[in-house]
């Protein structure tokens, strides 16, 4: 009887543990199934590199290049903001801050990482966009530049937090050896600690990229929403996530437009999949290098 109960519990947990796998497979199947009708009628290459996104014209055009380009521009703009600031913050916290400073600032940054994206979107729309518009004298403040800025600020606490973890994994013996050889703190930081934590910091940055690509509400509200290939960073753009969020409501169920939005979802999913795999490989190498095992 006792043995039976033990086995039963084991099986219950084993089955429930597969829930994540089930959901992942479910998501993949759903995305494929719902975008399949579009993918059989158009060449995949034409969809990804097509230059015109006119889903409601007759005949409609489903070129996703403007949307993909917009996602890339905004994501890399955001990285240009959050990588230096985030990594700098992490290094400051770990290497320079006194113990009481750290004890306060680390939780504060972690709490700030929890600010909902809609609040950033709202703030960007109502404060940052008018400010940028007046400052630079451009027709609209809702553009790729503003979106990058707001998204970058938003991702900073996350990158800082992950990078700080990476730096804290560097064994203190590395640091002590360098200091003992007469290097000062800055030399130790730039030539020993950062290289040792390098792939950990890269993982933080890559995960940050994954988040920024997939971020929806901020870019929906701040990026301006024009589905055209951006000529400059001050043009309004419509990233992939914003396109899905904005157009799903008006797309007729089962129409080509509807399937096209799922196809965007599929491409987004594939991008984040690649990003995750990269992050996984690099972080595994990092842990092996520092002798932390798997």
């Amino acid at each position: 009887m006792r043995h039976f109960k033990e086995t039963l519990y084991k099986w219950i947990f084993t089955i429930l543990a597969f829930a994540s796998l089930l959901f992942l497979v479910g998501i993949i199947l759903t995305l494929f199934r719902e975008s399949y009708p579009l993918l059989v009628r158009h060449d995949f290459f034409d969809i990804v590199f097509g230059r015109f996104w006119y889903p409601t014209y007759d005949p409609p055009e489903f070129g996703m290049f403007p949307l993909i380009a917009a996602s890339f521009v905004v994501t890399f703009g955001a990285m240009a903001v959050c990588v230096p600031i985030g990594v700098g913050t992490a290094l400051f916290l770990h290497e320079l801050a006194s113990a009481p400073q750290r004890a306060v600032m680390k939780p504060v940054i972690e709490i700030l990482a929890g600010i909902p994206s809609i609040v950033y979107g709202f703030f960007g729309m109502i404060i940052v966009a008018p400010f940028i518009q007046n400052l630079l004298g451009i027709p609209t403040g809702l553009n790729a530049f503003t979106a990058s800025l707001v998204l970058g600020i938003m991702a900073t606490p996350t990158v800082a937090s992950l990078a700080e973890d990476a730096v804290s994994f560097v064994p203190s013996s590395f640091r002590e050896a360098s200091l003992a050889l007469g290097a000062n703190q800055w030399q130790t930081l730039t030539r020993v600690v950062v290289p040792a934590a390098g792939s950990g910091i890269s993982t933080a940055i890559i995960l940050g990229i994954g988040r920024a690509v997939g971020e929806t509400m901020t870019v929906l509200m701040v990026a301006g929403g024009a589905a055209a290939i951006p000529g400059s960073v001050f043009d309004p753009v419509r990233p992939m996530t914003a396109t899905i969020a904005a157009e799903m409501g008006e797309a007729v169920m089962g129409s080509a437009h509807f399937h096209a939005l799922f196809a965007i979802g599929l491409i987004l999913f594939l991008i984040t999949l690649v990003v995750n795999i990269f992050a996984e490989i690099i972080s595994r190498r990092f842990r092996l290098k520092l002798g932390l095992g798997r």
Partner: protein, 303 residues
């Protein structure tokens, strides 16, 4: 003697003080740069908090928090949105907590080191990286359409729950792994079975850690917008939801709707500030509680 005092008073201090070396200058500049980074980060984030607080506070009143919206969203309160966010969050957590906990128990306590377990770990990692809008698409196609739940609290909660699952699993795993091995060994040595050990020794010891992990995830779920966009929310309801199959208003979506729909931008912006302040206070208070709790636990367990 600390590193600093050794540098200043140690046996080689005299030689060191002789000249200001290039490396010292670059060190000072470098430290300045790092300091500037954190000042920048805190400045930006402080600005956001400042604007939301200062401009949102005048909108908050007892009526704003407790009454239903009137006159096409230009008067009255946002109570249905607060209630809606509460239902969605409770629904999502009550779905993902049992599932996530079970998964964590399996991975920490039962998992044989096989390919299958690696696949589970891999799928958790990948699930964690999927954009929230893709969860929204999935929820729409599966819960709203295939299962026929419609745009409802149920569909929204399930979608949010799946999205929260990886976070719940890793928080629970961390808490379970932090339970000292000796506790388990003592229990097993006394003749308890594996399950008895898990239920009466491991889980009670891991409970505080699991709790903080769950609270952190509640904060995240409450603020999410994209997954509920097509699965649960509507701009306006007359009153409060009456079943799990009704559409709801939710605070995050309400902010978006106020900024993009309607005809009275000035008044709506004011209400949106109020909603942002409520949402921000809720989410920050929840995560602050979790983080403070966790710090206290870490001090106790000394890890």
């Amino acid at each position: 003697m600390t590193r600093q005092t050794l540098r200043e008073n140690g046996p080689f201090a005299a030689g060191r003080k002789k000249a200001l070396r290039g490396s010292d200058v670059s060190q000072a500049l470098g430290f300045l740069l790092l300091g500037a980074c954190i000042v920048f980060a805190l400045f930006f984030l402080g600005t956001i908090l400042y604007f939301i607080l200062v401009r949102g506070a005048p909108a908050i009143s007892w009526e704003f928090l407790t009454s239903v919206p009137r006159r096409a969203m230009t008067q009255g309160g946002v109570a249905p949105a607060i209630v809606g966010t509460f239902y969605l969050t409770v629904g999502a957590i009550s779905f993902s907590l049992p599932l996530g906990l079970a998964c964590a128990i399996y991975l920490c306590e039962y998992s044989p080191k096989t390919v299958l377990v690696n696949i589970i770990r891999l799928s958790i990692n990948n699930l964690a990286g999927i954009p929230s809008i893709v969860f929204g698409l999935f929820g729409f196609a599966v819960f709203v359409k295939v299962f026929g739940f419609g745009v409802s609290i149920l569909s929204g909660s399930l979608t949010l729950g799946i999205m929260a699952l990886p976070g719940i699993i890793s928080a629970s795993q961390e808490a379970i792994l932090a339970v000292p091995q000796s506790y388990k060994e003592a229990s097993l040595a006394l003749g308890a079975t594996h399950w008895q050990t898990i239920a009466r020794v491991v889980l009670p010891s891991a409970f505080p850690g699991i709790l903080t992990g769950v609270i952190l995830n509640i904060g995240r779920v409450a603020g999410e917008t994209a997954p509920i966009l097509f699965t649960a929310v509507t701009f306006y309801t007359r009153g409060y939801p009456d079943s799990v199959f009704s559409e709801v208003m939710a605070l995050p979506y309400h902010i978006y709707a106020l900024m993009t729909e309607g005809t009275r931008p000035e008044i709506q912006t004011q209400i949106a500030y109020g909603c942002s302040l409520i949402l921000l206070s809720l989410v920050l208070a929840i995560s602050a509680v979790a983080i403070i709790l966790r710090q206290r636990q870490r001090r106790i367990y000394g890890s």
